[in-house]
């Protein structure tokens, strides 16, 4: 009962063992690990937001579209309007947060399930991204030039590229990590999204377990009626969670847009789904009130590892989806069995 993430950790170990046995050895070199951790981290940032919202008893299906929409907004800020990052990034986050708040307010006011409200926003935001992109570019569905626009901005290294490049270069030159023939390290540094992922997972865990707000989130998701009767400001908590989730999506948008240098209308497609999967693998209950950020952290890693890892194996890639589904099933079954074992019967 007490440790939702236990199963996810066990699942991660299981998946690792599976790939150690079946995948090409390059998967677990430093470069290989960075390679599958990058998409896992991008998904994970979304998944932690989604997990907190799920613990609070709600869903947000619009986060995938939000990635596209916030990406567009950020792209317009920096390319079209030429704003520096110190303005563009907060503006994007505030803007995304506002959309999240609208989601939240509609859910709370109407009493409708968040599933259906945010589903409407899934379509609306996706559609607006397309319209906005065409307006911004004069007809194309891709907005380019972000990399040039943010070049040299002092904030850029925090949101794109690789961190600790100096360290890695010196490690490579001293032969501690692999390097290319020309002497540059195979892994130039740690992609910033991985660092963000770690920081956000730690923060979310702290908030959930060590602050009054965390208690309110669990309470609001466990039984919003009982929570409100006990004095928890349920509406405020839930709206804040919607804002937080939207901001997570916006952060992912900023990072990926700066990394790719461009954004298009299909960014973040179905990420809402993957984020929920990762959260559920991580032990969150769909009914709310139970789960953990650490669980979502490992859930995202499992998902990322399976998606990318299968490419390292010799399986016919036509079977990709079959394996993905099968491994998901095995991971959650295993995860569930372990949790029941460790924490006693429910």
């Amino acid at each position: 009962m007490k440790r939702p993430e236990l199963g996810a950790i066990a699942g991660a170990v299981l998946v690792t063992l599976f790939f150690l046995a079946t995948a090409d050895s390059s998967m677990f070199t430093l470069a290989g690990v960075m390679n599958f951790m990058t998409p896992a981290a991008q998904l994970g940032i979304l998944a932690i937001g989604a997990a907190m919202l799920m613990i609070g008893g709600e869903f947000d299906l619009s986060i995938g579209s939000m990635v596209a929409f916030a990406g567009l907004f950020f792209g317009v800020c920096s390319v079209t309007w030429g704003l520096p990052l110190i303005i563009a990034i907060p503006m994007t986050l505030v803007f995304a947060g506002m959309v999240g708040a609208i989601n939240g307010v509609i859910v709370i006011r109407s009493g409708l399930p968040s599933f259906i409200v945010t589903l409407a926003f899934l379509f609306i935001l996706r559609g607006l991204s397309l319209v906005g992109l065409k307006l911004a570019t004069g007809g194309s569905t891709q907005l380019r030039g972000v990399r040039d626009a943010v070049e040299g901005d002092w904030l850029a290294p925090f949101f794109s590229g690789d961190a600790f490049q100096g360290l890695f270069a010196s490690l490579a030159s001293s032969g501690l990590i692999d390097s290319f023939k020309n002497g540059s390290p195979k892994v130039p540094g740690i992609p910033v999204e991985i660092l963000w992922f770690l920081v956000i997972a730690a923060l979310a865990t702290y908030v959930l377990l060590r602050t009054p707000a965390g208690n309110w989130i669990f309470a609001a998701g466990g039984d919003s009626n009982a929570a409100s009767n006990s004095g928890v400001p349920v509406a405020r908590v839930k709206i804040s969670l919607f804002v937080l989730t939207a901001c997570c999506a916006a952060l992912v948008a900023i990072i990926t847009v700066m990394d790719a240098g461009s954004t298009d209308a299909r960014r973040g497609f179905q990420k809402e789904f993957e984020a929920i999967i990762a959260a559920v693998i991580g032990g969150c209950l769909l009914t709310g009130g139970y789960g953990s950020a650490i669980g979502a952290f490992f859930g995202a890693i499992i998902f990322g590892m399976v998606v990318i890892g299968l490419t390292y194996t010799n399986f016919d890639q036509d079977w990709f989806q079959v394996f993905l589904g099968g491994m998901l099933l095995i991971a959650v079954l295993f995860n569930n069995a372990i949790r029941k074992r460790v924490t006693g019967e429910r």
Partner: protein, 272 residues
């Protein structure tokens, strides 16, 4: 029923009421749950709210604690007209409630439930955090006072027995009860020892000048601690009696809505 109860301390105090409800009505769609109820609580008294099943007691105290907005009627709190927008408002004004359904989250630990909405913190600024250790200590201690020895403060409430759960809700309300303490059938699932603890607690709390609203179906419990008795019937007040003005069997007849009881007379000595 003897009148020399340990809990009785003369007439109800004559001070001004803390909270006064006037002509409260509450409709759910076309169901009329309350059809004009007036009620008040004074500091240091225990005011019992009695009535048959479905009389509207729970609905009434929910309007008092901010859960429902009354369809009609006025609430005066400490002399000022007031309307609570949420239970949190009522709580902040100093009203603590034990709801009939307890308002507990089964998946959460006892401590987290105990402090839900009013967590003690440590540190400040960004480092302000839930002081789990102190919370655990308080929880264990308050539960012990009520006669329950917990296995651990992190046991999920969902795995507690019915009575243990109810005790958590009562201990919580007593701990936070500032001016008014509302108890909706608090002893219904309790064992004899826990019941006597709760009744003793009501008495203790009342002596500190807190006004207590006590709902019960047990005439004996009500008479043991009550200073005044208001009886509801089908959403209307049947009347209020002071302690001593009414005999147990009169009270019991009132609570049953004046209808005949099944052939029980002899066996239960007049009070079920």
């Amino acid at each position: 029923m003897s009148n020399d109860s340990t809990f009785h301390h003369g007439d109800a105090p004559k001070t001004a009421p803390i909270i006064q409800m006037n002509g409260i009505e509450k409709h759910f769609g076309n169901i009329i749950a309350l059809a004009g109820v007036s009620f008040d609580v004074r500091p240091g008294e225990c005011h019992c709210l009695l009535g048959d099943n479905g009389a509207g007691k729970s609905t009434f105290i929910k309007t008092m604690s901010g859960v429902h907005k009354p369809t009609k009627g006025t609430i005066t709190f400490e002399g000022k007209p007031l309307s609570f927008d949420s239970p949190r408002d009522a709580m902040e004004a100093g009203i603590a409630t034990v709801f009939q359904d307890l308002a507990m989250i089964p998946l959460m630990s006892v401590t987290r439930n105990f402090f839900m909405g009013r967590e003690p913190t440590r540190g400040r600024g960004l480092l302000k955090r839930f002081d789990t250790q102190r919370a655990n200590e308080i929880t264990i201690e308050e539960m012990r006072k009520m006669g329950i020895n917990l296995r651990g403060p992190d046991q999920a409430v969902g795995t507690l027995s019915g009575g243990e759960r109810q005790t958590v809700a009562i201990a919580r309300a007593v701990f936070f009860g500032a001016k008014v303490l509302i108890l909706d059938e608090p002893t219904s699932a309790l064992g004899v020892r826990q019941t006597s603890n709760v009744l003793a607690t009501i008495d203790r709390v009342r002596k500190q000048g807190i006004g207590v609203v006590f709902i019960s179906h047990n005439v004996r419990h009500a008479l043991a601690v009550g200073d005044r008795f208001t009886v509801l019937n089908r959403g209307k007040t049947l009347g209020t009696a002071k302690r001593g003005e009414i005999t147990p069997s009169e009270l019991q007849d009132l609570m049953a809505g004046g209808q005949e009881l099944a052939q029980l007379g002899g066996s239960l000595g007049g009070t079920v």
